[in-house]
Amino acid sequence: MSFLNIAPNRLLSGHAAGGQEGVFVLLWIVAAVAAWWRAGALAALLLTLLLPWIAGIDATLMLHLKPPTTRIQLGAGFWVMWLAAALLLLDRLRHVSAAWRAVAWGVVVVSLIVSAWVGIFNSLALVREWRAQRGAFADALATHVTLSLVTLGIALAVGAPLGYIAWRKRRTGGALLGVLAFLQTVPSLALFALLIGPFAWLAREWPALGALGFGGTGAAPAVFALVLYALLPVVRYTAAGLDAVPGDTREAARGLGMTRGQVLLRVQLPLGWPVLLAGLRIVAVQTIGLAAVAALIGAGGLGRFVFLGIGQGATDMVLLGTLAIIALALAADLLFQGLLAMNERRA
């Protein structure tokens, strides 16, 4: 496995850059020390930060006196070691308090962002790819976030009432969940393709819809499909949230003269909210991931980078899209975790 690869340009595949063995030996020693040494957390933290730095600085040195099209790519060796370092850090941090854990990861994220800001990684192919496509990348990111937010909003607006019905009428709920679970088994690519026909027809029959951006391809069918996938977890977690409210509490609320709406707003919603929030966390991560596929029917988003990259054979472009999607999903996950933690502290 090579730490860094060197390629003559962004489309040709690279070969291992020489002179990396020393780095490997050094880093494995650090890792071994971190594995059993008592201050392992600190060593793991250092390793997680050192690896990208070494890669960045090394790439700058290698690029010296090379033609400007030359690309230095991060090799499998880098990714494996970096992942191992992160896992090691995760493991070493198991026994420290949540606050320290947050601080450690905060240090990692902030240091990486600052190093990127000052240009340590500028020689890496990934960063050069991003610099070349900065505008398109920002657009794609915005589209991806918009697609996901709109999907989440619609899924909640449709799914929450359905969840309430599913909870109140068990039999209807069973059938509903069955249909939604079946939808979940349709492969995303197939669903997107299946929707092209009906949506194209809709746009033809009602030109007004077409003017609004409806069509066989584009954002409308993409959001529709993403909502279909999001409905099952939303409905299920809404029903589970309502189930989490103790029966005697509901009975007391009714007996004391609350209307159904008041029971829902003042008792069921605040008590079932954490469960629903946990569900939304799953929906958000799932939607961000699935939205990548939506690029295939012209909805845009970060998936465009992945598929364009595959088409061109530009690995760095694929990587750029993929890493951004992962980062987005992680950010959404963290956001919901934070909301959940806030909710818990208040209760």
């Binding site: 103790p246 005697d248 509490t249 509901r250 009975e251 007391a252 609320a253 009714r254 007996g255 004391l256 003269g257 609350m258 209307t259 008041q262 003042r266 008792v267 605040p270 008590l271 209760a347």
Partner: protein
Amino acid sequence: MIEFDHVHKAFGDHVVIEDLSLRVADGEFFVLVGPSGSGKSTLLRTVNRLTHIDRGRVLVDGKDVATQPIETLRRGIGYAIQSVGLFPHRTVAENIATVPRLLGWSKRDIDARVAELIDLLKLDEPGMAERYPDTLSGGQAQRVGVARALAARPKIVLMDEPFGALDPLTRESLQASVKAIQRDTGTAMLFVTHDMDEAFLLGDRVGLMLDGRLAQVGTPLELIRSPADDRVNEFVGGTRAYLRELAVRNVRDSVRRDEHAEGEPIPARATLQEALGAMLAQRRDRLPVEGGGAILLTDIVARPR
């Protein structure tokens, strides 16, 4: 006033309440007692329409409950249940204030009423108002439940085995609180229990329910001394019923003013059961009564005039 007029209720083929008529007067403490499955809880729940009846009418203050808006009806009736059902996300004060809030009382009135109830139900531990239900003991939680039921000063209060899950000491203390509050406020209380002792202790009148019918309605002493039939006699406790009778009668009514006795004096408001217990503890057949006079074993045993 609560009035049941030929009320009938069945779940499928199973008749739970059979052609039942009953009237609970203003300011009366009425206890429905009976084994589980006798329909007493169902009957109670017909008053605030948590259960719908098949035939007959239930009237509150002369008005058929079926003709009133359901929320208005329920907000006018206090309601406490065995499992309490406090709102876990609301503080003690907010729980108590539930119905006044629904009724749109001013904040000042609500605060004053909550403070009053916290005092009345002996919840006056420092910081109690701001605590959450999961920090309360079972007894404290039920005190909050009772306070919540009484918060809007309802003229009618329904209690469904509210003390069934509590330990004996806590239960006695809560029974005393509820009895005192009911007497002072003059509310009509409909109280369901399966505990005969509790029924006789609390009830001005007791209705014994068996298989969806009222087997007998009367004062505790009437049920003990003249049970309507063998089943009532059996349920009231046969010869053990006379021990229960002692719990209903007071020392005050049997004291001999001109007699004197040795030993630890007993208060005049104590029950004859407590007096008998004190006699057994002190191994005496007569005891002095606080404020003068004495209580004699023969008077406890004798049939009261």
